[in-house]
Assembly symmetry: C2
Homo-oligomer: 211 residues x 2
């Protein structure tokens, strides 16, 4: 893959140029349930009301387009999550998950596309992986601290626990958002929070130190 290049030169003077049109069109198509992989450059261009060649004036290829969409849209759900701390208790954690779920629902289409392409494209996979690394690192730090203070069992296998929480959690969340009943978002968030909480602390609901 060549370098990034192709930075717009005088985009400033033209607010809604073809570029924005293409990004919007792609989102529209994705939201309508289109499958990113079998979405041709032609279709995207047509939907955007733009010549196919124009697409290539702005994007190296479909993957480039997807990444741009992602960075543009993905108001990191990480910010929401990382604000939480065990001292705030389980119920608060459930609230956090609820918020994350809202973010997921909002950007569901793009996230679906990301997951889809990540399965077979290394570039996107790495990008996505980097995104998840934030969570992994954060969780690891948090769990280690809890363990040091003796709140979490000493025999907890940190690496495995983090994997179960981050990878597993992400997957369950996506599955709920794509297949579950939106009316039960809160219930799901609570269940997820409680499962992690008790799973990791391995004891009854002693509100996490109520402190």
């Amino acid at each position: 893959m060549p370098s990034i290049t192709r930075r717009r030169t005088a985009n400033v003077g033209r607010p809604t140029s073809a570029e924005a049109e293409i990004l919007a069109a792609t989102q529209r198509l994705l939201i309508n349930g289109a499958n990113f992989t079998e979405l041709g450059v032609q279709q995207i261009s047509t939907e955007a009301g733009v010549a196919r060649s124009t697409f290539y004036n702005h994007f190296r290829d479909k993957v480039d387009l997807l990444m741009r969409l992602a960075t543009e849209l993905m108001s990191s759900s990480f910010d929401v999550t990382s604000a939480w701390h065990p001292s705030e208790g389980v119920e608060h954690l459930a609230d956090v998950f609820s918020q994350v779920m809202r973010v997921y629902r909002k950007h569901a289409a793009v996230r679906r596309a990301l997951a889809e392409v990540a399965a077979y494209d290394a570039t996107v996979r790495d990008f996505w992986g980097r995104e998840l690394t934030q969570f992994t690192d954060w969780t690891l730090t948090l769990l280690r601290a809890e363990q040091d203070v003796g709140r979490t069992p000493a025999d907890l296998d940190l690496e495995s626990a983090v994997r179960v929480i981050v990878m597993g959690g992400e997957r369950a969340l996506v599955d709920h958002v794509t297949a579950g009943d939106p009316g039960r978002d809160a219930a799901f968030a609570r269940e997820l929070a409680l499962t992690w909480w008790h799973g990791v602390y391995r004891r009854p609901a002693d509100d996490g130190g109520a402190g």
Copy 2:
């Protein structure tokens, strides 16, 4: 997609025909780390020492090939799992997960390919979904029974819990197998078992009713 058709006519008379050759070659390529999506019919045929047209004599397309590989190889890890019952306790559950992990490691390549294609192909996604449905149903039944007997908290949201366990667990498992240290399979299995156990029962390690 057309119907299933294409059943071998006189396969019996020739044990190791092109068909087996192709299946084996594909596995070889996958195990060597090849990406199923960017694996051309030409490459597969060449690797199998067979003409490209021969490929189409046996498989409708690449997806067909993948499904055949899958059903042939996937000695359901379900059998292993479904043999377990809560009365056997957590540690036994960890053993079960260890066994499942062995199955996963063995068929890792094909499973990776399945996950990959499932991301963008409906046929494979459905197939894969059906596979997971077994687990979902089983877990649901089990949890409901536990809840009826009052061993599991009444406020447990069944549907969500199942999602967290099955989808999340599968993902974490795959992640561990592909990215984790094989030497720590047991540790991971145990962590997974303990997290589910305590997460679902929400109380300390009262060995699950000890029978």
